[in-house]
């Protein structure tokens, strides 16, 4: 379709570097890996959480030999969304939490794009149904602004100022066949 123009803003190497940086930041901020649990928000937050988990294991000696899946999982927010009634019923995604649960862990919510903050709000609700973490942090690959709720990310791969008419799409190897971040602008140029 020619109705949208695609503008690539990150490629596979940039994504990889951003994730590596976030992994380091997580360890730094947490003073080590103690209690860290990365929960990705489906759909694309889940593989990102997995990749971050793999990086933690790779760079942190204290985690040597640990299976990354012990540190990572997914947290579905579908049924906690505030716009559930505005769309046809959507199928929930799996929520997978490693044995031990979320109680007293430092849960890092992982998502691909942070925008209005509504998904994160839903995630905080979903998380509280699972238990009581010691702390909750937020890591996102892209922060594109346009916040509608008082929410900010602790770790950001790339800040991407955009117009509200544009869409930011994150493509991942696991879900889309290759890694990229693109901005989709409606034909006819930028909005005001």
């Amino acid at each position: 379709m020619s109705s949208a123009a695609l503008r690539p803003v990150m490629g596979a190497p940039e994504i990889s570097r951003a994730l590596s940086r976030i992994a380091h930041e997580l360890l730094e901020r947490n003073h080590g890996p103690e209690g860290l649990l990365l929960l990705g928000i489906p759909r694309r937050g889940a593989p990102l959480a997995r990749r971050l988990g793999e990086r933690l294991v790779a760079v942190e000696p204290a985690l040597a030999g640990v299976d990354p899946s012990a540190l990572t999982g997914s947290l579905d927010v579908t049924m906690h969304r505030d716009d559930l009634r505005r769309h046809p019923a959507r199928a929930p995604w799996p929520t997978q939490v490693p044995p031990g649960g979320v109680d007293d862990r430092v849960v890092v919510l992982v998502d691909d794009v942070l925008s209005t903050g509504r998904t994160v709000r839903a995630a905080l609700d979903a998380l509280s149904d699972l238990g009581r973490p010691r702390a909750v942090r937020l890591a996102v690959l892209v922060d594109r602004g346009h916040r509608e709720l008082p929410i900010r990310a602790d770790h950001v791969g790339k800040n991407l100022p955009t117009s509200s008419r544009e869409r930011v799409r994150v493509l991942l190897e696991e879900t889309d066949g290759s890694d990229a971040v693109v901005i989709e602008a409606p034909e006819g140029g930028e909005g005001p």
Binding site: D76, T78, M79, H80, L84, R85, R86, H87, P88, A89, R90, A91, P92, W93, P94, T95, D125, D129, L130, G131
Partner: protein
């Protein structure tokens, strides 16, 4: 999904989707906090013109776990039993502000009537109508079968029941469970064989998408060496005996009862289902009901997850479907 009146309302894709959602619902039911906020602010009315504690309880649990407001309207002792018409009851529910009506009625087609008469705007979910259908029972049976045949919880996600062979034995004539199962299992690609004495098969059953037999042992032995993967025993009411549908309970259970000997004819992986409540000693023996092949208790648990999925798909989305 605006209404769920018949298993025939579901395409293969819709049915698989519903079963997949049910898997997600089942997973949430393993958590300490089982309640989900999806139907907050929605009102589900359980309208039961016929006593059925198990089905009513199952729907009630399903709706409550999705945070819906649940109003139960039992015919017994209410205005319904005092001659109030289905229409007036429906209009009362409309006034209350029901978003969905789960209806159990002794008259075939009553849910259909509620959905199409213009009396109410709410979605209608058929929880068993006369001798017509019981679509959520078929869905929970399919869910149970998919888990049993595809390797447990979550393992069958995205798949149908293609190639599975299911024998359904019992009072097909009066069974809404049989009708819904034949339709749904066929939609999902399974091959169904109905087995019953000829008196308990409806005239016209030949047009159904299944095979029909009158010899249970032959059906269990399978055709061309293909033995069934599952057997579903249907409830048989003893009163049928008085209407000459069969001569005696003893003869019925000898010819059509599922027992340990008959289950031994099946391949190792095959399972036994029963929609309940059971008449032990008539259509099913105690050793069969309590044996390793039995998935009867699981069916009950799966009923809640499946009904959560059905209510979720009916009510969670936007109003105009």
């Amino acid at each position: 999904m605006r209404h769920l009146l018949s298993a025939a309302d579901l395409s293969r894709e819709q049915a698989v989707h519903l079963l997949d959602v049910a898997e997600q619902m089942a997973a949430t039911q393993q958590r300490e906090i089982k309640k989900l906020p999806a139907l907050r602010g929605r009102t589900v009315v359980n309208l039961f013109f016929e006593d059925s504690t198990r089905t009513r309880t199952s729907f009630e649990a399903a709706a409550k776990r999705l945070s819906a407001d649940v109003i139960t309207f039992s015919a017994k002792g209410s205005s319904v039993s005092k001659g109030e018409s289905l229409k007036d009851t429906a209009m009362t529910l409309e006034a209350i502000g029901a978003d969905a009506v789960v209806v159990r009625h002794s008259a075939s087609g009553a849910p259909h009537r509620l959905a199409t008469s213009g009396w109410i705007r709410a979605g209608v979910l058929n929880a068993g109508d006369g001798t017509h259908e019981h679509p959520t029972q078929a869905l929970l049976d399919a869910f149970t079968l998919r888990r049993a045949l595809r390797g447990g919880a979550g393992a069958g996600t995205g798949t149908d029941l293609a190639g599975a062979r299911v024998v359904v034995v019992g009072d097909v004539l009066h069974s809404r469970v049989a009708r819904s199962n034949v339709l749904l299992l066929h939609t999902l690609g399974a091959r169904v064989t109905l087995v019953a004495p000829p008196t308990l098969l409806p005239v016209g059953v030949g047009a159904w998408p299944c095979e029909v037999a009158t010899d249970l042992d032959a059906a269990l032995a399978g055709s061309g060496g293909a033995r069934p993967d599952a057997v579903m025993a249907l409830r048989v009411q003893l009163e049928r005996m008085d209407a000459a549908y069969f001569p005696s309970a003893r003869e019925y259970s000898r010819r059509y009862g599922v027992d340990g000997r008959r289950l031994a004819l099946l391949p190792d992986h095959a399972v036994l289902l029963h929609p309940g409540p059971m008449n032990r000693g008539l259509e099913i023996s105690a050793d069969a009901a309590d044996g390793v092949r039995s998935r009867i208790v699981e069916q009950v648990a799966n009923g809640v997850a499946t009904r959560m999925a059905a209510l979720y798909l009916m009510l969670a989305g936007e109003d105009a479907a």
